[in-house]
């Protein structure tokens, strides 16, 4: 059986680079995700990783996220993870990454980001 692969899509939305991740992130695909996120970081100082369609992530994938998050911080940019599943939130909590990687937008702010440029 062919393992499920990773599909990503990068868009610019209101000045932010939004990378939508679909599929599994593990030892096979983590390096690819890292490259895609690094490339997206070249497009905007705000990188949003939308994981609504991500079906799996393990510690290899978390390492890729942490790596790019640090790269973003080093150059004065920022990276946030959007739409984490309960499973991912549990993982982030176990690994003490929840407050590092996820920005808890309030409801009004979440609405804002659709219609207003972000700086």
């Amino acid at each position: 059986m062919e393992p499920v692969s990773l599909v990503t899509r990068t868009d610019i939305v209101d000045g932010s680079a939004v990378v939508s991740v679909t599929g599994d992130v593990d030892l096979v695909s983590a390096a690819h995700l890292r490259t895609v996120l690094e490339d997206a970081l070249e497009l905007s100082s705000h990188l949003i990783v939308d994981v609504a369609e991500m079906t799996f992530i393990d510690s290899s994938g978390l390492s890729a996220l942490v790596h790019v998050h640090r790269q973003a911080a080093d150059r004065g940019a920022r990276m946030t993870v959007r739409h984490p599943s309960p499973m991912l939130m549990r993982l982030l909590s176990i690994t003490r990454l929840a407050t590092v990687l996820v920005v808890h937008d309030g409801e009004p702010q979440a609405d804002d980001r659709r219609g207003r440029a972000e700086h």
Binding site: L27, D58, R90, R96
Partner: protein, 246 residues
């Protein structure tokens, strides 16, 4: 033996009247395969209850005040020769939800162990390359589906991913994935030919590695490393159905 469709194991609980004991009683009572027939507070009462009820298993806290030497066990054996005695040291239980859950899960495993017969087992030879990780995960998902344990797939897939990734990254050559299910406890084991032992590293938010085994520790009720006679090692983790996470 009772009805074959719903075999239940009669359990007599002997412990102090405290919150942990109440948690244990409620947890065991909730298990359909267990039948808590009575709960008593002293070893003296325990002997009388064992004689009267002839339970399959007597679960006793060794911290009871009136427990003196081995006399109680001899007495139980005399009045209820077919009763198995399971002892536990409640005082060693970590006083948080995870600790108590772990303790109860282990206790249930011990209570049921000789009662539940055939184990379910499955095995996969995993190539020693990164692609082995998703292969192993797919295998686990298919096997658990067959075993009607699909609720465990998210947690089991995660454990398998971490264990196989560890083997693939640190040991050359293939590894073997074994799944066994006994007494409702799923055991995931990965054997490899490496002499090294898993390394529980200090984990900080900024470090890029060292999270895998912390994840295993958090999702498994218990896990460990067995040294095999041929110098190989087996890293295993156990998952209880009650431990299904969203």
């Amino acid at each position: 033996m009772t009805d074959a469709a719903a075999p239940s194991t009669s359990v007599l609980l002997v412990h102090a009247a405290d919150a942990q004991s109440a948690t244990l009683r409620n947890a065991l009572s909730a298990r359909p395969e267990l039948d808590v027939v009575d709960e008593v507070l002293t070893t003296r009462e325990a002997i009388a209850a064992a004689e009267r009820l002839q339970p399959r298993v007597l679960v006793m806290d060794v911290g009871l005040d009136d427990l003196v030497g081995q006399g109680v066990l001899r007495s139980v054996r005399r009045v209820a020769p077919d009763t198995r005695v399971v002892l536990h040291a409640k005082t060693t239980v970590v006083d948080d939800r995870t600790g108590i859950r772990l303790w109860i899960a282990q206790l249930v495993g011990v209570i049921l162990d000789p009662v539940r017969p055939a184990a379910l087992a499955a095995r996969l030879e995993v190539p020693g390359e990164p692609l082995g990780v998703p292969m192993a995960r797919t295998f686990v998902s298919e096997v658990l589906d067959q075993w009607d344990l699909d609720g465990l797939v998210p947690a089991a897939g995660l454990l398998v991913s971490e264990l196989v990734a560890n083997a693939v990254q640190h040991v050359p050559g293939p590894c073997a994935l074994e799944l066994t299910c006994r007494a409702d406890v799923l055991r995931i084991a990965v054997s490899d030919s490496g002499p090294g032992m898993p390394d529980l590293r200090v984990m900080t938010p900024s470090s890029e590695r060292g999270r895998g085994l912390h994840i295993v520790s958090a999702f498994a009720t218990t896990w460990g490393v067995d040294q095999l006679p041929d110098g190989h090692k087996k890293v295993w983790a156990e998952l209880d159905p009650a431990e299904v996470h969203p």
